[in-house]
Structure formats: structure tokens, C-alpha cells
């Protein structure tokens, strides 16, 4: 029996186990939506913006480990999904975007809603396809999923012209694919793994520096085994949170620009860095020439380009983190002797001293302004037993969540790391909630970033996705304001948000619930109230406007040189509040 391109599309997606598609229809994808409409195996979630669809696919993929799928139309549909594709490319998220395209005879004609989808998406996808013949459609979809999921995961775009989705052919779905130019290396070099084991046995001050690759590879157990067996402290990147339990005694928390004091000191003074699935991003290394001056570096990563890109590596191991660690642990188990706790005591004494010296802290006066850290900390305490999935936007609230929300499990953390996309959090949380209807999904956002995708409230309400959104409302782009305070003498160029909508009313306008939190004494109650509601909630948390996120390593600074609190001159300046001409009518700022 012959099937149309659209029917082939739906059949192929079923074979790939797709349960949910996020998207918005348009002229050239109507046929595909029409076929989707007439079946029940795949749920279609209509979003309110294609960017929302892309981030939902990302949230879905990060939470489940399965590729997320977005379906959008040509032209503006495609350009709107570029940000999620770029975001997914930076953070290695397997999503597949299917874009409609004008009919093949019209391509290149500046047809209505035409865009060069392949050209637009080339630098922000792992691979992209234009389907020019309906006979190629099934195998293309198979290849798209294969490329997105395997090796270092990433986004793939498949561009389907309208005539291809209408044309008919026999449907045969390939069992497997092989692409001659694409053969990811999974097995690490045995010799290099042996070298790594020897280096670990010799090291006096080793540290594990783990990244998002640990989560993609499912290597949490192996990391934990290695850390516990050899008593190695664990530093996590922003992307790795949840890969190792945040409250584990060996965890030093997040490292990098806003990492903990102990995480940054420990890596700086270590003599052996074991990097697993991390890429030595500039937010982690700080000044490259002074990164870990005394350390030998072992780097385990599936992507050879990540190795020796920024940092000289002594023992490079290209391979899948899980498999490499399994082998490494096996060698270590066979050779290790002596009490590792005893052996590592001097190193741990030093680490514990750092830990005690500058722990993460905030001062919450009982009747003062609400500190954002306090709300996040309470949210963590009150939900930890429910193993929530936590999404964030980008900025101060993101860093505070990374610091205070001690995630216990992998795939519970949805954040935009590499691209730093404001507006990511809310749709990503919806994507995760669509995958796990019963789980508690939280989104912590800022008043600036939530406005970048607030339209998805409609998607949340219509699809009954009861995400709990906590908006740290300070009437600022807070991180920008912090940089301006620290490096631009307090000139708040375009960081002050004069008008912020009433988020309670906004939520209610869409049919969601809205709550406002203004007093410290109400924090626990309002959190409980929000959690008890069986629908999407916006909680508008009025926080201290001038709270800054510390520790902080200034861009290009050195990891052991952290700013730990507001410099005195900054405190003086802030006492004066926001300059007069920037004051809002309701006096929120001067209160």
C-alpha cells in the first residue's frame, strides 16, 4: 500500500517511539498535522510560539533521555526555532525539528514563507537534511534520530517540502542505518585508561570535574563508584547538576564563575583533574593560562574536538564516559590497596577547611526583604522528598538555584548552559511535565526572563501541565545589574524593568493560578499553597532588588580569586537606591 509523505512521517515517528510532538502548523505542514490529527498514538501539543516548541522538545529530551520532537512551518516558523536549536547544540540535547518547506519547484524563488532552512540551521545543528524525494523520507527520519541520539547528542533538522509530504510511495522503515562519515568512538583506548588509573593511584590531591556528558552517557553510578572507592572530591559543572547527589559528602557542588568557594579552590590546587564529559568552558576555567597550575589533566569525552580545545590535556581518552569509567574502575578495584580515607586525609582536611571558611550563605532578616536564596532554599527543603524536576531561566536566579537546590538524581535539572537562553525555563519545564504528568515540575525564573516566553501559559493551561513557576521578581535583569554594579560603577543601562506585568493577574488571565509572595513569614505557606494546586501556577516573589550572587569569579579571572560579597563601595551606592529618573510610579524600588 502506498502512503503519503505525511503518513510516512507519522509511521516513522511511531517506530522511533515518539509519544509527543510540540509544534505549530502553517501552510506547508498542514498535511502532516492533518494526518497527526487522525491518530491517537502521538500527542500533539500546540505551543504559542515556535521557540516554545523547541525548548519544550529540549525539556522533554533532557528529562527523558529520548529525543524531543518539534514540528514547525517554513519561514518564520523556522527562524523562531533557531534559538532552541542553537541552545540544544551548545548543551548537546537530542532534539529533532521537522520544518515544512515550500514545494520543491518553488525553492529558491522567494516564495511566501520561504526561508533557507538548511542554510539557517547549518551552524546550529549537528546535522540537517532537505528531503527532495519522498522515497528518501523514511530513511532520512531514521538517520535523523540516529544522529541526534548517538555519539555526542545534538539537534537535527529535517526540512520537508510540501510536495514531499503530499507525494505517495511504498513505506519501508529501515531496521538500521550506517553513515560512512559518522562513527562515534565509544571504547576508550585501553592504554590511555591504564595511564589514567596509574595517575589516579599516584595522585595526592585528585578531583573529579564532571559535566553534562555524565548525564547523557548515564554514567552517574560509575562516577559515584570511582569517587567513593578512591575518596575523590566531585566538582560539577552547571550542566552536570544531578549527575552526582548534591548532598553527598564527596560533592563540593558547582564550580566556575558562580561555583562554591571549595569547588574552585579544590580544583585550582589539585594535582590531578579527572574531567568526565565536560568541556572546559570559559565559565569554568576562568583565565586559561592559570587554570589548575599544578595539575595533570585526564579528559574523558566522546567528542574529540572537546579535548585539547581550550586546555592542554595530559591523558586524553575519547570514548563514552560510562564505558571508560567502567574499565577505569575495574583496573582501580584490582590494584588499589590501603585505606583510601586515611591516604586522602590531608587533602580532605584542606578541603574541609575551605568548606568551613566560606560556605554558601545568605542573610535573611526575619522581617526584612525576601532574599531570593532563602526562597530557593526553602523550595528545595520543602520538595526534596518528591524528587522534583527543576527548570530555570538564565541569570541570578539560575545561579542561586544551582547553588542551593541540591539535586539528587540525573535528568532532574533543565537549564540553558552554553547558550544562556533567557526564556528557556518555562517551556522546558512544560516539556518535562508533558513527559511525566505525575511528577512535580518546578520552574524558577526571573521577572525579566519569564517575559521572554510567558505566552506558553496558554499551552500549560490547555494541556493541563501543572508546572509551578516561582518568579524572583526584582524589577531588574538582575545579573546584568550585578555586573553593572561591579564593573560599570552602578550605571544601570537598560537593566531596570520599569514596567513589569502583574504576574498574578497575567496567570489568571490565561486561566492559570497566580500567587504573590511579599513577606518572609509567608514563604513556606505560599510555597505549600502553590504545590497543592493542581494547575499551572505563577508565584510572584517580590525579592530584595539588590541581592547579588556570590562567589563570583570576574570574567577572565583566576579560579582561586573569587569575590565573596558586595564590595563596600557598592553597598554605599545601593543605599541610595535606583537613580530618581528610573523610579517606577508605584514606588516599588524605593520601598
Amino acid at each position: 500500500m502506498k502512503l503519503s509523505g505525511s503518513e510516512i512521517f507519522v509511521e516513522a515517528l511511531k517506530r522511533e517511539g515518539v509519544k509527543t510532538i510540540f509544534g505549530i502548523p502553517g501552510g506547508v505542514v498542514l498535511k502532516i498535522f492533518d494526518v497527526l490529527h487522525q491518530q491517537n498514538d502521538i500527542e500533539v501539543i500546540l505551543t504559542r510560539h515556535e521557540q516554545g516548541a523547541g525548548h519544550m522538545a529540549e525539556g522533554y529530551a533532557k528529562a527523558t533521555g529520548q529525543p524531543g520532537v518539534a514540528l514547525i512551518t517554513s519561514g518564520p516558523g523556522m527562524t523562531n526555532v533557531i534559538t532552541p536549536l542553537a541552545d540544544a547544540y551548545m548543551d548537546s540535547v537530542p532534539i529533532i525539528a521537522f520544518s515544512g518547506q515550500v514545494p520543491t519547484p518553488l525553492i529558491g524563488n522567494d516564495a511566501f514563507q520561504e526561508a533557507d532552512n538548511i542554510g539557517l540551521s547549518r551552524p546550529c545543528t549537528k546535522y540537517n537534511f532537505l528531503v527532495k524525494d519522498v522515497n528518501d523520507l523514511a530513511v532520512t527520519i531514521k538517520e535523523a534520530f540516529y544522529i541526534a541520539k548517538t555519539g555526542r547528542p545534538g539537534p537535527v533538522l529535517v526540512d520537508i517540502p510540501k510536495d514531499i509530504s503530499m507525494a505517495k510511495t511504498d513505506f519501508k522503515y529501515p531496521e538500521s542505518v550506517s553513515i560512512r562519515g559518522y562513527n562515534p568512538t565509544y571504547e576508550g583506548s585501553k592504554w590511555q585508561i591504564k595511564q589514567a588509573a596509574e595517575a589516579i593511584l599516584k595522585s595526592k590531591r585528585p578531583i573529579l570535574y564532571i559535566g553534562g556528558g555524565v548525564i547523557f552517557s548515564g554514567a552517574s553510578r560509575e562516577v559515584r563508584e570511582l569517587a567513593e572507592m578512591m575518596q575523590i572530591p566531585v566538582d560539577m559543572t552547571l550542566m552536570a547538576l544531578g549527575a552526582f547527589p548534591g548532598d553527598h559528602p564527596l560533592s563540593l557542588g558547582m564550580l566556575g564563575m558562580h561555583g562554591t568557594y571549595v569547588a574552585n579552590m579544590a580544583i585550582h590546587y589539585s594535582d590531578l583533574v579527572i574531567a568526565v564529559g565536560a568541556r572546559f568552558d570559559d565559565r569554568v576555567t576562568g583565565k586559561v593560562s592559570e587554570f589548575c597550575p599544578q595539575a595533570k589533566i585526564i579528559h574523558i569525552d566522546i567528542d574529540p574536538t572537546s579535548i585539547r580545545k581550550n586546555i592542554h590535556v595530559h591523558i586524553p581518552i575519547v570514548g563514552d564516559c560510562k564505558r571508560v569509567l567502567q574499565e577505569l574502575n575495574q583496573i582501580l578495584r584490582a590494584t588499589v590497596n590501603g585505606d583510601q580515607k586515611e591516604l586522602r586525609k590531608p587533602w580532605w582536611d584542606q578541603i574541609n577547611a575551605w568548606r568551613a571558611e566560606h560556605p554558601l550563605r545568605y542573610d535573611q532578616p526575619p522581617d526584612g526583604k525576601i532574599k531570593p536564596q532563602y526562597v530557593i532554599d526553602r523550595l528545595y527543603q520543602l520538595t526534596a522528598d518528591r524528587d522534583p524536576i527543576v527548570a530555570t531561566d538564565v541569570g541570578q536566579h539560575q545561579m542561586w538555584t544551582a547553588q542551593f537546590f541540591k539535586l539528587a538524581n540525573p535528568r532532574t535539572w533543565l537549564t540553558s548552559g552554553g547558550l544562556g537562553t533567557m526564556g528557556f525555563g518555562f517551556p522546558a519545564a512544560l516539556g518535562a511535565q508533558a513527559a511525566f504528568r505525575k511528577r512535580l515540575v518546578l520552574c524558577i525564573a526571573g521577572d525579566g526572563s519569564i517575559q521572554m516566553n510567558a505566552q506558553e501559559l496558554a499551552t500549560a493551561v490547555v494541556n493541563k501541565l501543572p508546572v509551578k513557576v516561582f518568579i524572583m521578581n526584582n524589577h531588574f535583569h538582575g545579573m546584568v545589574r550585578q555586573w553593572q554594579d561591579l564593573f560599570y560603577e552602578g550605571r544601570y543601562a537598560s537593566s531596570y524593568l520599569d514596567v513589569v506585568p502583574d504576574f498574578v493577574k497575567l496567570a489568571e488571565a490565561y486561566g492559570a493560578a497566580g500567587l504573590r509572595l511579599e513577606k518572609v513569614s509567608d514563604v513556606d505557606d505560599v510555597i505549600r499553597e502553590a504545590l497543592a494546586l493542581d494547575k499551572p501556577v505563577f508565584v510572584d516573589v517580590m525579592v530584595d532588588q539588590f541581592e547579588n550572587c556570590y562567589p563570583m569569579i570576574p570574567a577572565g579571572g583566576c579560579n582561586h580569586e573569587m569575590i565573596l560579597s558586595d564590595p563596600p563601595e557598592l553597598k554605599e551606592r545601593q543605599k541610595m537606591g535606583v537613580p530618581k529618573h528610573q523610579e517606577s510610579k508605584d514606588g516599588v524600588l524605593t520601598a
Binding site: 532537505l130 560512512r180 585539547r308 592542554h312
Partner: protein, 177 residues
Amino acid sequence: MAQHDTEHIINITIENKFGALSRVAGLFSGRGFNIESLSVAPTLDPTVSMMTIVTKGDDWIIEQIIKQLNKVIDVIKVVDISESDFVERETALIKVHTRPEDRAEALRIADIFRANVVDSSPTSYTIEVTGDVRKVQAIINLLQPLGIKELVRTGRIAIMREPIRTGAATRSLAKAN
């Protein structure tokens, strides 16, 4: 990690399909790598093209270029030709403006470089020259005073020399001597 830039000739075996060239070109521009010349044409297998890129960089950058090229899914194989013994060639078509008194000189120069005259008009010769980059540059330098109207170069292509077995072959040579 301060090293000096050296020139590298990289041969890339790549799928001969839509967009493959732009993936490689985009990689170079997107990551700020430098392309001195690029030439591409199908191989014996029509599904595969051979691309020759001449680039410059220190060891650190060249390592990244090769790794990044390997990562491109359409790329099948990457060889840094300049790591080994190789032969390189480039062809140039040079249209030289010739006044009557220069015509003999132009032909003499072409002759010295074993270049061919492939087109001629009362006021010009078009000269085809093939050689390594120094030879092509040398003839251009000599023809320039006469007046070059147009210059088209293919970009460089290179191929590895077949290794000569030092065993039996050298021994028989020695015997002959």
C-alpha cells in the same frame, strides 16, 4: 602554547551531496579558521568528492581543524598531506596584455616555465601554467611588468607520494652501480 603558524594542505574525502561544501566552508568561517585556497571535484566514485584545503595555523589550531573536519558528518576522511612527502600542483590561466614589442618576451617567459599559450589575440596571450605554488608565483611575477589583464587560479591540489620501499629496490640500484 605560542607556536608559529605553518601551512598545511589537507585532503578531505567528503560525500558528494547537496550542502557538503557549505558545511566545510561554514566550519572554517564559523570558527575563525583560515582558508588560503580550496579546491573540490568528484573522485572516481561519483558519490564522493575530494576537497583540498590549504590552511595556516599553529599545531594547536591545525589539530582542532582536523578534529572539527572529522566531526562533520559528511566528511569521510581527513588527511593532513603536509605531514608526509607529497606532490602539489596548481594551474593558472594568465591573460597578459601584450604590446607589439612585448609579444616575443611573453612567449619567452612562457617557454622558460614550460607554460602553454592557449589563446591569443592581437593584444594579448592567455598562458596556462601548471606547477607548484612557487613556480606559478614566479611566472606571475615575471609577467606582471607586461601587464596582466586577468588571472584565474585553480587553488592547490596535492597527493601523497607513493612510499618507495627501501629494501629490495635500493639494493638492486646499488648493484647496478
